[in-house]
C-alpha cells in the first residue's frame, strides 16, 4: 500500500509552485529575483513532483485525500495512483530541466518591456494547474485545474503581445482550449448523469450503455484531442507554441500535451473502462493521419520553433496510434498485446516529453545567443555553441527514432504490437493495422529527413547571416537544463527494461494486466511478447556501437590525428560561399513535390524592376480552409442577421413588447 508520503511530496510540489508564482510578484521591483528565487523554486517544485511520481510508481498503490475546497457537497478529491504517478514523473522531469534552464534564459527579459511577474507568476500557476489535473479525482477539480492550465499558458503565449500575429495566436489558442474544455465538461456530464456524481469513483462504478459510452468517448476524444493537437484540431498548436518564451514552449509541447494524453487515458481507459473496436479504429486512424500530416507539415517549415510544434502533432499522433492499438487489442480480448501497445504509448509519452523539451530548449538557446528563429538564416552553429550542438544532435537522433536513443524503443514497441495483427479475428482490422504500421514507418523516415534538414542547416555548414556568425555559447544553467534531458534520452534508450519495469505499475492498475514477460529475460533483454517473437538487447547494441566507434577512432584515427585543412573541393568549383548552401526550403523541395497535393502551396516568381527575379513560397495548412473558416463565416452571418433586432426605433421596440404580450396571452389563455 502506498504510504501517504508520496501524496505529501505532491502537495509540497504544488505548494512550491504556488510559492514561486506568488513570489514572482516581487520581481516587478527586483528583476534578479526571477532567476535567483522564483525559478529555483520552480525547479524544486518539479523535483518533488518527480519524487512523488516515482514513489507512486514504485509502491504501486493508491492514495486519496480530500481538500476543503470546491462545492459544499463535493470537496476537491485528490487521488495519486500509478497512472497519476507516471504523469507526475513526466511533468516533473521536464519542468525540472526547464527550471534549471530558465535562470539563464530569462536573463534576457530583464531589460525587456514585458513585465516579469507575468512570466514567473503564470509559469508557477501553469505548473500548479498541470499537477492538479493529474491529481484530480473529481470532475470539478479536474475542470478547474484544466482551465487554470489553459488560462495561465494563454497568458504566457501572449507574453510578447506586441506583434499582431502573436495576439492572434493567443486568441486562437484560448478559444480552442475553451471549446475543448467545454467538450470535456460535457463528456464528464454524460458520465456523471449515469454515475450520479462527479467523483471519479462513481464514474468508475457506473456501467454506461454502449450508446452513451460512445458519446462520452467521442466528447473526450474531441476535447482532449483538441488540447493534444490531433489533426484536424491542431490548428492552434503551430501558432501558439512558437510564440511563447522558449522554456514555456518546452513546457507546453513537452508536458501540457501529455496532460491531455493523460486526460484521454484517464477517461477512456480508466473511467469508462470499456473497449470497443470502433473506438480503437477511430483513434488509430486519427492518430496515423496526425502523425503523417504532422511530419509532412513540419518538413515544410523553416521557422525552427514552428517546425518543432508540428513535430509535436506528429508525436502525439504516434502516441495515439499506440493507444488505438491498445484499445483494438483489448476490445478483441488480446490483453497481452494490448498491454504492449499501451506501454509503447506511455513510453513514447515520456520520450516525447524528454526530446521535445530538449529540442525546444535548444531552440531557445539559439534564440538567446543568435536571436534567430529562421533556419534559412542559421548555419555553422555547432562550432559556435558546441554543447548546445551536441545536446541538440542527441535530441534530433532521439526524435528520429534511431538506436540507441529512446525514441527508437517506443517505436519498436509500437511496431511489435502492430506485428501481432495476425492474431486479430476480423480480416478488416488485420489489414488496417499493418497500414497504420506502414504510415508509422513512413512517418519515422520522414522525421529523420526533417531532422537531418534541421541539424544540417542550423548547426553545420557556414553561417548564413551576420548575427548568427556572432553567436556565443549560452550560460551554464541553460546547458545544464539541456544536458539533463539529453542524458535521460540516452538512458531511456539504453536501459528500457528498467524503465518499463517502473511503468509496469500503470497497466497493472488501470487495465489489470502487467507486462511481466517484457523484462522476464533480465535487464539486458527487452522481450515484449516472448523471446521467440522478438527481443532487443538495447544495452549490448549501445555498448557495441560506442566501443566499436571508440576503437575505430583509436586504431584508424589514432585518436584525433591532425588533419590538414584546405578549401572545400566541391568538384573543383570556386570556393563555396554561404549563399551556395542548401537552405531548409531547398532541402525539403523534393518531398514538397511528391506530397504536393497535401499542402496548400502558393509559389510564385515575379521579375523585379532591377531585372532580378523574386521567388516567394508560402506553404499553408489545408485544415484552415476545410474546417475553420466555414464555422467562422457561419457565426458571422447569423450575428449579422440577429443584430437587426436592435433597429434603433423606439416604436419598433414597443411593437415587440406588444407582440410578445399578445403571443403570451394567446398561449396562456
Amino acid at each position: 500500500m502506498i504510504s501517504v508520503d508520496a501524496l505529501w511530496w505532491a502537495g509540497l510540489a504544488i505548494a512550491l509552485a504556488l510559492a514561486s508564482a506568488a513570489l514572482s510578484l516581487l520581481t516587478a521591483s527586483v528583476p534578479r529575483l526571477l532567476r535567483v528565487l522564483v525559478m529555483p523554486l520552480f525547479a524544486l517544485s518539479a523535483l518533488s513532483a518527480l519524487i512523488a511520481g516515482l514513489l507512486a510508481l514504485i509502491n504501486g498503490g493508491v492514495a486519496v485525500a480530500e481538500l476543503p475546497f470546491g462545492l459544499p457537497w463535493l470537496h476537491w478529491q485528490v487521488r495519486l495512483d500509478a497512472l497519476a504517478g507516471f504523469f507526475l514523473c513526466v511533468i516533473g522531469v521536464v519542468s525540472f530541466a526547464v527550471g534549471l534552464y530558465a535562470p539563464g534564459y530569462v536573463r534576457g527579459f530583464e531589460q525587456g518591456r514585458d513585465p516579469l511577474p507575468v512570466l514567473g507568476g503564470f509559469g508557477g500557476l501553469f505548473l500548479t494547474g498541470m499537477l492538479l489535473v493529474v491529481l484530480a479525482a473529481d470532475a470539478f477539480l479536474f475542470m478547474v485545474a484544466w482551465e487554470l492550465m489553459s488560462l495561465s499558458s494563454y497568458f504566457l503565449v501572449a507574453f510578447h503581445h506586441d506583434h499582431a500575429a502573436n495576439r492572434r495566436a493567443a486568441f486562437l489558442y484560448l478559444l480552442m482550449a475553451h471549446i475543448g474544455g467545454l467538450a470535456i465538461l460535457l463528456g464528464f456530464g454524460v458520465m456523471a448523469s449515469v454515475g450520479g456524481s462527479f467523483a471519479f469513483d462513481a464514474m468508475r462504478e457506473a456501467q454506461l450503455p454502449f450508446g452513451w459510452a460512445s458519446v462520452a468517448f467521442a466528447l473526450a476524444f474531441i476535447g482532449f484531442g483538441m488540447k493534444a493537437g490531433l489533426v484536424p484540431l491542431h490548428a492552434w498548436l503551430p501558432e501558439a507554441h512558437p510564440v511563447a518564451p522558449s522554456h514555456i514552449s518546452a513546457l507546453m509541447s513537452g508536458v501540457m500535451l501529455k496532460v491531455a494524453v493523460y486526460g484521454f487515458i484517464r477517461v477512456v481507459f480508466d473511467l469508462l473502462g470499456q473497449f470497443h473496436w470502433q473506438w480503437g479504429v477511430a483513434v488509430l486512424i486519427i492518430g496515423s493521419i496526425s502523425a503523417l500530416m504532422g511530419v509532412l507539415y513540419a518538413l515544410m517549415q523553416h521557422d525552427l520553433k514552428r517546425l518543432l510544434a508540428y513535430h509535436s502533432v506528429e508525436n502525439i499522433g504516434i502516441i495515439f496510434i499506440g493507444l488505438g492499438l491498445a484499445m483494438l487489442f483489448y476490445a478483441s480480448g488480446h490483453t497481452v498485446i494490448g498491454t504492449v501497445a499501451f506501454v509503447a504509448a506511455l513510453y513514447h509519452t515520456i520520450n516525447h516529453a524528454l526530446f521535445k523539451g530538449l529540442l525546444f530548449l535548444g531552440a531557445g538557446a539559439i534564440l538567446h545567443s543568435a536571436n534567430e528563429r529562421d533556419l534559412d538564416k542559421m548555419g555553422g552553429l555547432l562550432r559556435r555553441m558546441p554543447w548546445t550542438g551536441l545536446f541538440f544532435l542527441i535530441g534530433c537522433i532521439s526524435i528520429s527514432a534511431l538506436p540507441p536513443f529512446n525514441g527508437f524503443i517506443s517505436e519498436w514497441l509500437t511496431f511489435q504490437s502492430a506485428l501481432q495483427a495476425w492474431q486479430l479475428e476480423s480480416g478488416v482490422l488485420r489489414s488496417l493495422v499493418p497500414i497504420a504500421a506502414a504510415m508509422l514507418a513512413l512517418t519515422g523516415a520522414l522525421a529523420a529527413a526533417c531532422f537531418v534538414k534541421v541539424y544540417g542547416v542550423a548547426f553545420l555548414g557556414q553561417a548564413r547571416s551576420r548575427h548568427v556568425r556572432r553567436a556565443r555559447p549560452v550560460p551554464l544553467s541553460m546547458r545544464a537544463g539541456q544536458g539533463v534531458l539529453a542524458l535521460l534520452c540516452l538512458l531511456l534508450g539504453v536501459l528500457p527494461t528498467v524503465f518499463i519495469g517502473l511503468i509496469n505499475a500503470v497497466p497493472q492498475q488501470v487495465l489489470g494486466h502487467g507486462l511481466v514477460q517484457a523484462t522476464a529475460q533480465g535487464w539486458l533483454w527487452l522481450t515484449p511478447v516472448s523471446p521467440q517473437t522478438a527481443s532487443y538487447g538495447a544495452p549490448l547494441v549501445a555498448i557495441a556501437l560506442f566501443v566499436a566507434v571508440g576503437l575505430g577512432l583509436w586504431l584508424v584515427g589514432r585518436g584525433v590525428r591532425r588533419v590538414r585543412r584546405c578549401d572545400a573541393w566541391d568538384c573543383g568549383f570556386a570556393p563555396p560561399s554561404a549563399a551556395m548552401q542548401y537552405t531548409a526550403t531547398a532541402f525539403a523541395q523534393p518531398i514538397r513535390r511528391v506530397f504536393g497535393l497535401l499542402f496548400h502551396i502558393d509559389e510564385r516568381v515575379e521579375p523585379q524592376q532591377n531585372g532580378h527575379l523574386r521567388h516567394s513560397l508560402q506553404v499553408s495548412d489545408r485544415a484552415w480552409g476545410l474546417f475553420y473558416t466555414p464555422v467562422v463565416r457561419a457565426v458571422e452571418k447569423t450575428a449579422r442577421q440577429v443584430i437587426r433586432l436592435q433597429s434603433g426605433n423606439v416604436r419598433v421596440y414597443l411593437g415587440w413588447t406588444l407582440g410578445t404580450l399578445l403571443v403570451l396571452l394567446w398561449i396562456m389563455a
Partner: protein, 490 residues
C-alpha cells in the same frame, strides 16, 4: 428590525441630505459614508436573519432569499460609490456635466439604492412595483446626464420601454390582487407576498397565469429579457459609468428577484392544474433566447460599454433559464450566479470606466494597448473578462458548472445548446478584448489616476467563491434554495 430600517432608509436620508450639499468634494465623501452605513446595516441585518431566521413586520419581509441580495446590493453600492468619487470628479472636470448635474447624480444615486433596497425588502407586491418604477425614475435622469443626443435618446427609450413594461406589470399586480381577493379575507393583506405564498394553492390558476404573463413581461423588461431588452444596451452605454455598474449589477438582479417571487406564487397555484410547469417553461424559453441571441450580439459591437451590457443580458438569460429549470441544483446555481455576476460585472464596468478615461473614448477600435499604458487597468479588464467568461478558478465557472449539471440531469439536450452559446459568447467577448488590452501603446496615451481597489475586492471575492464556497454562504443559499424550490440541497 432597526437594522432593516437603517439599511433601507439610510439611503433615503442620505439622498435628502445630499440635495442640500453644495460642495462637490464633500458630496463624494458623504456618498461613500452613507453607502458604508447602509452596508453595515445590511450586514448586521444579515447576521440577525442568519440567527433568527425570517424577519417580518410593517409589510417588510426579509428571508434567506432576499437577505443576501440586500447585502450584495449594499456592498456593490458601497464599492461603486468609492469608485465614483474620483471618477465623477474627472467627468466633471472634462465638462461633460456641471455642478447641478453632479448634485443630481449624488442624490439620485442614493435614491436609486433606496428603491432597490425597498424593492428587495418589502413584502407588499404593490410596494415592490412602486419601488421598481421608482428605480426607473431615479435612474432615467442619470442616463441623460451628459445631455448628448445619444444620451437623451437612450434615456427616452429607457423611460418609454420600462414605463410601458412597468405599466403592464401593474396590470398583472391588479390581477394578482383580484385573484387574492376571494382567498384572503381582509383586503390589506391581499398583496402581501407571504400571505399569498401561504395560500398560493387556492389562487385561481386561470387568473394567476394571466397575471404571470403581464408580470413576466413587465419585470422581464427590466431584467433585459429578449425581445424587451432593447433599452438596456442604450441605457448602460450612455449613462455615467458608475451608473452602468449599478444598473448591470443591481437593477437587473432586483427585477429578476421580483420575477422569481411571482413565479413562486404562480407555481403554487398551478401545481394542481393541467400544466403545472408552464411558468418555468416560459422562463426557460425567454432565458435561452436572451442567452443565445445576446451571445451573437457580442460579435458585432463597436462600443465597449454596449458590449458588456449585452454580456449582462446574456448572463441574466442564463439565470432566468436556471430559475425556470427549477429544482434545487439549478436554483442554487442561479442564486450563486446572481451573486458572482453582479460582483464581476460591476468590477468590469469600473475597469471599463478607467479604460475609457485612459483612451478618452468608448469606441472599441480606439481603445488600445491598455496593459502597456496602465498594467493595473489592463490586467483588471483582462482578468475580469476571463472571470465573466466562465474560466475557473472564478466563481462564475462554479455556477455555470452547477447549472450545466442540473440541465444535464433534467434536460440533457439543452446542455449542448448552452455550451454552444457559451462558446459563441466567449469568442465574441475575447475577439474585442484582445486588441484592447494587448499590443503596443498608442501615441500620447497617458496613464490615469485609477482606483482599482473595488475591482480587486470584487474579483478577489469572486475568486474565493470559485475556489471554495464558505459555509455560511452555502447555508444561506441553501435556505434560499429550499424556499424557492421546496427542496434543500445540502
Amino acid at each position: 428590525m432597526t437594522a432593516l430600517f437603517v439599511t433601507v432608509f439610510t439611503p433615503l436620508l442620505g439622498g435628502l441630505v445630499l440635495i442640500g450639499v453644495q460642495r462637490l468634494s464633500w458630496a463624494g465623501w458623504i456618498n461613500i459614508l452613507v453607502c458604508s452605513a447602509t452596508f453595515i446595516g445590511a450586514s448586521t441585518l444579515a447576521i440577525a436573519v442568519a440567527r433568527h431566521g425570517v424577519l417580518e413586520g410593517f409589510s417588510f419581509r426579509v428571508d434567506a432569499f432576499n437577505v443576501y441580495l440586500l447585502v450584495l446590493t449594499a456592498f456593490v453600492g458601497m464599492t461603486t460609490s468609492i469608485f465614483s468619487r474620483p471618477y465623477m470628479r474627472y467627468v466633471c472636470d472634462t465638462g461633460k456635466t456641471n455642478e447641478r448635474g453632479m448634485r443630481l447624480y449624488h442624490v439620485m444615486f442614493q435614491l436609486f439604492l433606496f428603491t432597490m433596497l425597498l424593492a428587495l425588502s418589502t413584502d407588499n407586491l404593490g410596494i415592490l412595483w412602486v419601488a421598481i418604477e421608482g428605480a426607473t425614475l431615479a435612474t432615467v435622469l442619470l442616463v441623460s446626464l451628459y445631455r448628448t443626443p445619444e444620451a437623451i435618446e437612450a434615456a427616452w427609450k429607457y423611460f418609454i420601454l420600462c414605463g410601458v413594461g412597468i405599466a403592464l406589470a401593474l396590470f398583472g399586480t391588479v390581477l394578482l390582487y383580484f385573484a387574492a381577493q376571494h382567498v384572503v379575507t381582509e383586503p390589506s393583506a391581499g398583496l402581501s407576498w407571504s400571505t399569498l405564498h401561504g395560500v398560493s394553492t387556492q389562487l385561481q390558476p386561470a387568473i394567476m397565469s394571466l397575471a404571470f404573463v403581464f408580470l413576466l413581461i413587465g419585470y422581464g423588461t427590466k431584467v433585459g429579457l429578449m425581445p424587451m431588452h432593447q433599452w438596456l444596451p442604450d441605457a448602460h452605454s450612455e449613462g455615467p459609468t458608475p451608473m452602468s455598474a449599478v444598473l448591470s449589477g443591481l437593477l437587473l438582479n432586483v427585477a429578476l428577484y421580483a420575477v422569481v417571487r411571482i413565479k413562486m406564487l404562480v407555481d403554487g397555484s398551478l401545481a394542481a392544474s393541467s400544466s403545472p410547469h408552464v411558468a418555468g417553461y416560459l422562463l426557460m424559453g425567454f432565458g435561452l433566447v436572451s442567452f443565445l441571441v445576446a451571445g451573437l450580439f457580442l460579435h458585432r459591437q463597436r462600443d465597449i460599454k454596449r458590449m458588456f451590457s449585452y454580456s449582462s443580458i446574456e448572463h441574466m438569460g442564463l439565470m432566468t433559464f436556471a430559475f425556470g429549470l427549477g429544482g434545487p441544483l439549478a436554483t442554487f446555481s442561479a442564486l450563486l450566479h446572481m451573486l458572482v455576476h453582479s460582483l464581476t460585472k460591476s468590477a468590469i464596468f469600473v475597469t471599463v470606466g478607467h479604460a475609457t478615461h485612459i483612451s478618452g473614448t468608448q469606441a472599441i477600435d480606439h481603445i488600445r494597448g491598455l496593459i502597456r499604458t496602465q498594467p493595473a487597468v489592463g490586467w483588471g479588464l483582462l482578468i475580469g473578462v476571463a472571470a465573466i467568461a466562465g474560466f475557473p478558478p472564478f466563481g462564475v465557472f462554479t455556477s455555470e458548472f452547477l447549472l450545466l449539471t442540473a440541465t444535464m440531469q433534467t434536460q440533457p439536450w439543452f446542455t449542448v445548446v448552452l455550451l454552444l452559446g457559451l462558446a459563441v459568447a466567449f469568442a465574441g467577448l475575447f475577439r474585442h478584448l484582445h486588441p484592447m488590452v494587448y499590443g503596443p501603446m498608442p501615441q500620447g496615451q497617458q496613464p490615469v489616476k485609477a482606483n482599482m481597489l473595488p475591482v480587486m475586492v470584487h474579483l478577489g471575492l469572486v475568486l474565493w467563491l470559485g475556489i471554495a464556497i464558505p459555509g455560511f454562504l452555502a447555508r444561506w443559499l441553501d435556505r434560499a434554495t429550499e424556499l424557492i424550490s421546496g427542496v434543500h440541497l445540502l
